[in-house]
Amino acid sequence: MSEPLESLRLAWHVVVRNWLVYRKDFVANISPTLADPALIMFSLGMGLSPFIGQIDGHSYAQFLAPGMIATTALFTAFFESSYGFYVRMTFESVFKAMLTTPIGVREVILGEFLWVFVRAGLMALGVTLVLFLLGLLPNPWAVLICPLIAGFLSLPCAAIGLLATSWVRNINQFQTVYSFLIAPTYFLSGVFFPLQGQPALAVVVQFSPFYHGVRLIQCVVWGQFPVVEMLQHVAALIGFTLVLGFFAFRRIDRKLTV
């Protein structure tokens, strides 16, 4: 088998390994991913909709819905590649054992990205189906497209998680990363309120891959297709994935080989 194909095969087996371990605690693992958006939709969406006027022609629940799909990608990817990867790396020594096999650091990291893509895509599919059943997805084919966008959005988010992993000195420091980077990203990227009235914020969020994912999913869910804007978001996501992925790879490589 050629080397790149062999690399992919090995990276895929890393995904299979993670899936087997994940499956053992399936209910515990998927609970927050599905329960949190459901609670937000119920409390903020259903609860506030009657009090808030239309936003761009959408009720508040309709406005919130696409953000829940993007949020699933952000949280799944970040927590998996920060806490999850860190635990595998330090407490469980999983990579020490893996790296004695034909798997190299490249396959470990490639496998991690693939795993996050698959996991975030599946979780987003779950959330999307729930939104569909609640009648918040007017276009049925969005059920298929949104999880795919979520999968691609999860890649730069996973790179951020891996960068955090390479940077923290103990597991508690992830809380700092969460509080000062992930939480602001979550609350300020157009999921909960439109950014039209916030020109300064609208500029800042351009530097967050999450914002571009949120916008793409909003476009698809709401059935609006500003082609140029969407292409810009796609380009931004690809750019962030490549740049952050490159640095994450370099930093984790130095953690796993000395």
Partner: protein
């Protein structure tokens, strides 16, 4: 490099910042040989092992494993080795079979071939009844045997064992020694690190003693003993030293080991004579062994970093 050479290291060095973990290590391991790496904690044993399959990148020297440089061609090497690392790193939540299936796939075995191979090896390690047991229900000895199974899945030519029997009870230790000996008899090459001198004597054709990143002694166990510390040792309480000193001959060696005072002499009768002359009875009189060699070569006092 000769065709029979499995590991060929010349002047291998590893420097972390200003700390030299390996200074200039030379080592040839030939096919079918079992070589033991001895040395205090921090001597560079695990660093050298890491260099062999590319998780530690050496900072100097030449190194080839099966003719491949581990820095550039780690995968070609890793297809032909099996490693028992210091930590088992088994997936605690999975069963024995699931753990081994994952690693069989990593090692390139097909799904169909994997299960047969796993069952066969579990049998060799007396784990056949544990096939479907979760890892967390296994004892320490079982986990270690399973780590051996994992290392052997892809039928490696070179087996690398990093402190394979640390913390195990004697029966498990003997089982593992038997397995390693069987593997070597079937033509496998073995590199083992250990702190147990008896283990090194039982298993190894050749021993390499490391200290502070350098080789300080090489040879077959008997050869090393004959060369570095031949003869017999009498062990006395420390306070006996003043009584012993006047009766020592110049070729003998007196050294301290903890609260004991030891005398090494070429013949057993020398020590009997010494007892009589000093009016003392030794705590123990015995032939020298690998431990005496080890302590002589690596220094008898603990370093600050211990």
């Amino acid at each position: 490099m000769s065709a029979e050479s499995v590991i060929s290291a010349q002047g291998v060095a590893k420097r972390y910042g200003t700390f030299d973990a390996l200074v200039a290590l030379d080592l040839e391991v030939r096919r079918g040989e079992c070589v033991g790496l001895l040395g205090p904690n921090g001597a560079g044993k695990s660093t050298f092992i890491g260099c062999l399959y590319g998780v530690v990148l050496r900072t100097g020297g030449r190194l080839e494993v099966f003719g491949h440089d581990p820095v550039r061609e780690a995968r070609a090497i890793k297809r032909r080795i099996g490693v028992v690392p210091q930590e088992n790193a088994l997936d605690e939540g999975l069963t024995v079979l699931e753990n081994m299936q994952i690693y069989a796939r990593f090692g390139g075995l097909s799904r169909a071939a994997a299960d047969g191979r796993i069952v066969e090896l579990l049998g060799h390690m007396a784990l056949e009844t544990k096939r479907d047991a979760p890892i967390k229900t296994l004892s320490g000895g079982m986990k270690r045997r399973l780590t051996f199974v994992r290392a052997l899945l892809a039928d490696p030519e070179l087996l690398i064992l990093d402190e394979p029997t640390t913390g195990l009870d004697p029966s498990v230790r003997h089982l593992l020694w038997d397995k390693v000996t069987d593997l070597r008899d079937r033509g496998k090459t073995v590199l083992v690190t250990t702190h147990y001198m008896h283990e090194a004597e039982v298993l190894c054709d050749r021993i390499v003693v490391l200290n502070k990143g350098s080789v300080v002694g090489v040879g077959a166990p008997r050869e090393l003993i004959e060369r570095e510390a031949p003869g017999f040792v009498g062990i006395f309480p420390r306070h006996a030293e003043t009584a012993l000193r006047p009766h020592l001959q110049s070729a003998w060696e007196l050294f301290h080991q903890g609260h004991q005072c030891c005398v090494r002499a070429p013949r057993f009768d020398d020590l009997l004579d010494l007892q009589r002359a000093a009016g003392l009875v030794a705590l123990q009189l015995r032939p020298t062994n690998l431990e005496d060699v080890y302590l002589k070569l690596t220094g008898r006092e603990l370093e600050d970093n211990e």
